[in-house]
Amino acid sequence: MTTMIEASDLGIAFSGTQVVKGVSFDVEPGESFGIVGESGSGKSTVLRALAGLNRDWSGQICFDGNKVGLRRDRTFYTKVQMVFQDPFGSLHPAQTIDRILSEFLLVNGIGDIDGRVNRALAEVALPSSVRFRFPHQLSGGQRQRVAIARALIAEPEVLLLDEPTSALDVSVQAEVLNLLADLRQRLGLTYVMVSHNLAVIAHLCARMGAMQHGIMVEQLTTEALRNDKAVHAHTRELVDLSLSLETVEAAAL
């Protein structure tokens, strides 16, 4: 089996400022890889470069063994889809859920729109009644489900997740994280997830990389992280912070 995603020596600059410096990592098929870091560490920029949303990068990116260039063709987007942070900003406010979900099918001339839209909604456990509603008629959690359904309708192999739960309530976050874990298992998807919340990354990803100032300072498995095997000072800082904020829960359970 070839490696699903190979990023090597990725460098990204915005008007002369280097925001991502020599980031390399591999993700195996069916694996879930997390990128954790503070704002400005370059984690989302890496994800956007993978998705082809940013064309000013250097280095090499391979998906499924194929090197991808600055521009991506249509087949790329049938394989790789992205879910954004804010379900309020990433759904077209004047389009119904039906229109939002069928966009990809219309653009790519794929038939059976009716069946596929219904299946996608069922996949993310939304009732079919939401199909003809507008985004503002749905709750935040429902909107994020729609965003996930929109990514799934392309039947991708890879999902790029940019802080998929940070705009949601903790109670809704649990539902969305469960859904993502379930989908990955059922559909055999590969995830790359970006978040500033270490506990969320550790929950969904088996392996992760910590970023600071545009550099991936450490890569380790979640198991190693939990067993206090993190070596880099920044990773240890993130771990300590995360643990200190969950002490109440630990005591509660």
Binding site: E38, G40, G140, D169, A174, N197, H203, R226, L241, E249
Partner: protein, 280 residues
């Protein structure tokens, strides 16, 4: 008693149907006390805070058997009298510094404006006060930030600037509505520690609103848990670990944890009985 709210009800009428968003909330707070209000979106926690500051739009129907601030009946105050209390004696820190700061004025000007409105003084004094306030909120290079525009500083710094602005008139009560949910985990803790420190050293009262129960419990004495416009329970933060209400336990339980991996997160099972109005 600094704040005393009894049986607060907030309703909105749309197309002839009346919807009660807050249904009989009672809260009280003393000086030097820190109260957390926790609940999901739509639980009415922000509405409660805004009602206390009388910041709700006209179409909101606000009723309470009692709503006082330092003995002043807030419901009967004129808008003019409210303006002296609001900002002056009650500070309000909002969620997102990106949207709450004026993008075309420097940080220094905005803090100085807040200081001058309530304290009266000349420009020079106001600027000095602004510098002093920026130092109090622990900004490393206050001189530089004073002349910076909101887009030139980070989210954490913007939130510090907003706190500085709220502290300018020396309020007795600080209401913070999700002050950290737009920020990173590490900055979140810093800002909350700062608020905690300022509230303690100035002897203010604090109402901290959030959807993150464990986070709030670190910084408050008491926590009021809200669901769909009603108070589920009020509990001392120290006793949170022994909370019995299923909703409180659900909120505590559904967070992913680093030191306790679980394959599936427990989700909240909402009980219809929670919606029934409890007898006062």
């Amino acid at each position: 008693m600094l704040v005393d709210i009894q049986d607060l009800r907030i309703a909105f009428v749309s197309n002839g149907t009346r919807f009660e968003a807050v249904r009989g909330i009672s809260l009280s707070l003393d000086l030097r006390e820190k109260l957390g209000i926790v609940g999901e979106s739509g639980s009415g926690k922000s509405l409660t805070a805004r009602a206390l500051m009388r910041l709700l739009p006209k179409q909101a129907d606000v009723r309470a058997t009692k709503m006082t601030f330092d003995g002043i009946d807030l419901l009967s105050q004129s808008e003019r009298e409210m303006r002296k209390i609001r900002g002056g004696r009650m500070g309000f820190v909002l969620q997102d510094p990106k949207y709450s700061l004026n993008p075309v004025k420097t940080i220094g000007t905005q803090i100085a404006e807040s200081w001058r409105t309530h304290k009266r003084g000349n420009r020079k004094e106001a600027r000095e006060a602004a510098l002093d306030l920026l130092e109090q909120v622990m900004i490393r290079d206050p001189k530089k930030v004073l002349d910076a525009y909101p887009h030139e500083i980070s989210g954490g710094m913007g939130q510090r600037a907003m706190i500085a602005m709220m502290l300018a008139p020396d309020p007795e009560l600080l209401i913070a509505d999700e002050p950290t949910s737009a920020l990173d985990a590490s900055v979140q803790a810093e800002i909350l520690r700062l608020i905690d420190h300022l509230v303690e050293s100035r002897g203010m009262g604090l109402i901290l609103i959030s959807h993150d129960l464990p986070l709030v419990s670190h910084f408050c004495d008491r926590v009021s848990v809200m669901y769909m416009g009603q108070q589920m329970e009020e509990i001392a933060a120290a006793d949170l670990a022994r909370a019995e209400h299923p909703y409180t336990r659900g909120l505590l339980n559904c967070m992913p944890m680093l030191n306790k991996p679980r394959a599936i997160l427990p989700v909240l099972h909402r009980d219809v009985a929670w919606l029934e109005e409890k007898a006062q």
